[in-house]
């Protein structure tokens, strides 16, 4: 027919990503398998204790006894970062604790979109605990987007409002030590959790408990105390075993002079 253009549908595998995609699918299947297995038989999965997770309730209890607020910050990254999402999941737990124990919470945010989600989370947490009337929008604050303006704002909160328990969950940059050290100076018990390898040493030095790397993601599930969520931890470990197996086989292959694993992974 005149004037009619027929377009052909092309499905193109993007180069250099096929192996990644296959691994992603395998890890996704392992994750779903682990979650379903845990749903059916959670008692079959043994989990090691993470001291930092047990300390959450202790820290909020301490704040209650001292009559001082709890301070929480979900990190410096935006909503696109999984670390921030995990920190927001943990915020839900901490906010429920503060609602239950009638202790005020201050949530300081660097990112304005994260602030809005955090406000919703804290509000819903108070609602879930039947303490909707105690929720005050001033509990959740957007401080500033500039890194050190945010740090200065948090330091101001520490020295004015003297929180007794500080939670630093999420991704941090240089301000991590400022927050942690100042928190120590005001006598707060501090629990940190981050995947930032550059800031972990500072948190380990200045905080009482630290969730390192993947423990942050696991904590979000752990704190919900949902028995089937141990499947999350199983999913992590199965994925790690797969990755370690590939690394080991690849290391042996390379040592033997074969680049087969490298070639497959670079497809």
């Amino acid at each position: 027919m005149h004037g009619m253009t027929i377009y052909q549908l092309e499905v193109v595998l993007r180069s250099g990503r096929v192996a990644q995609g296959v691994l992603l699918v395998i890890i996704g299947i392992l994750t779903v398998y682990a979650l379903e297995k845990a749903k059916r038989r959670p008692e079959a999965i043994k989990v090691r204790k993470i001291p930092a997770i047990d300390a959450f309730e202790e820290a909020v209890g301490r704040a209650t006894e001292m009559g001082r607020p709890v301070f929480y910050t979900p990190g410096m990254s935006g909503l696109g970062s999984l670390t921030t999402l995990s920190a927001l999941s943990i915020l839900d737990y901490v906010a429920r604790l503060t609602a239950r124990y009638n202790v005020p919470i201050i949530v300081a945010n660097r990112n304005w979109v994260v602030y809005q989600v955090a406000e919703g989370i804290v509000k819903n947490a108070y609602l879930a605990e039947g303490k909707a009337d105690q929720f005050n929008p001033e509990m959740v604050r957007y401080i500033a987007s500039w890194q050190f303006a945010f740090a200065a704002g948090c330091l101001g909160i520490f020295f004015r409002e003297r929180p007794a328990a500080n939670f630093y969950m999420g991704y941090y940059y240089a301000e991590s030590l400022e927050l942690a050290e100042s928190g120590y100076r005001i006598g707060a018990v501090q629990i940190a959790g981050t995947t930032s390898t550059a800031q972990l040493p500072f948190f380990v030095a200045a905080c009482d408990y630290v969730l390192i790397g993947e423990e942050l993601y696991a904590a979000a599930a752990f704190l919900a105390r949902d028995p089937k969520i141990v499947g999350v931890l199983l999913a992590h470990d199965l994925s790690k075993i797969l990755t370690l197996a590939i690394i080991l086989i690849g290391a042996i292959a390379i040592t033997a002079g074969s680049t087969i694993i490298l070639d497959i992974l670079s497809k």
């Binding site: 890194q147 940059y173 240089a174 100076r185 390898t197 550059a198």
Partner: protein, 293 residues
């Protein structure tokens, strides 16, 4: 009444802050020469620029804000190096202040260098012809887009000049023509963004990172990969020390002031070791000498 070793274990931090202040101030006020060993990370970064063929395009990405004391000296030394060599330069930044910092350096730096078209001839590098400041790459879309074409993604450069009027942009309309990308990265967004969006499209493009001291260990796995020819960094300039080493390799001592600051840095390193030892001394004396727990 506390004993002297209990006081040693619990020194008021304000005394420590005062000591830090004094220990940093004295070497700055009384500058002394400092012996310096060049690390392989800085040498590799230097060689990555030094070995570029004449006429190559280099992209400098200023990904920090304010006069960052670790990255700014690095940026000064590297910019002077690329200006001195017969190369073309694009300046970009993933932080809004980055191109501003580049402008501040460009205003005062010695612009003498070798002509990219005739490497034996010494000229004064001109803006627009040998170097262009493309400005802030505000969005991921822009970072991805300028790889293919600059003229379709931007209308003006950092100074407000029309992008189509710049001879360098007419010559290289896209970051894809670059041989080397050097990112001075304070955090995120940082060089990993370039590895993700540019390196994956052109494995021959080399990357160097200028990093603060705390972030440097995080770049090491990528440096190891880069050395093997995989996607990664071929050089890492670490902290102010890296800037001083670069300045030394460049042969223009005094360019960044990093060498003078290193004495202060060394002094405060020693102070850290001393206070840690004092704290442990107090702890052990209390525990084993004073009958404490």
């Amino acid at each position: 009444m506390s004993t002297w070793y209990e006081r040693l274990e619990n020194i008021d931090p304000r005394w420590i802050y005062l000591l830090v202040y004094i220990v940093i101030a004295i070497p700055i006020i009384i500058p002394l020469p400092s012996p310096l060993a060049i690390t392989p990370y800085t040498r590799d970064a230097f060689e990555a620029v030094e070995k570029l063929p004449p006429g190559s395009l280099v992209v400098l990405s200023f990904d920090y804000s304010g006069a960052n004391p670790e990255l700014h000296p690095q940026a000064i030394a590297v910019l002077r190096h690329v200006v001195r060599r017969p190369l073309y330069i694009y300046i970009v930044g993933m932080w809004s202040d980055g191109p501003v910092m580049a402008d501040q350096i460009w205003k005062v730096i010695d612009k003498t260098g070798y002509d990219p078209e005739d490497p034996t001839k010494l000229i004064t590098k001109e803006y627009g012809k040998h170097i262009v400041n493309l400005g802030y790459l505000a969005t991921t879309a822009l970072i991805v887009g300028v790889y293919d074409t600059i003229t379709k993604m931007m209308t003006i450069d950092f100074y407000g000049n029309s992008i189509d009027s710049l001879p360098l942009v007419k010559k290289f309309d896209g970051i894809k023509y670059a041989s080397l990308v050097i990112s001075f990265a304070a955090g995120s967004p940082g060089p990993a963004t370039y590895l993700q969006y540019w390196a994956t499209q052109n494995p021959n493009m080399k990357f160097v990172v200028g990093s603060p001291g705390v972030s440097a260990p995080g770049f090491m796995p990528y440096y190891e990969a880069g050395k093997l020819g995989e996607i990664g960094y071929v050089g890492v300039i670490i902290s102010m020390r890296g800037a001083a080493e670069y300045e030394t390799l460049l042969g223009e001592i005094g360019l960044t002031g990093a060498v003078a600051a290193l004495n202060a840095q060394s002094a405060v390193h020693y102070l850290l070791v001393v206070v840690v030892i004092l704290g442990n001394l107090g702890y052990y004396l209390r525990k084993y000498g004073g009958g404490g727990r």
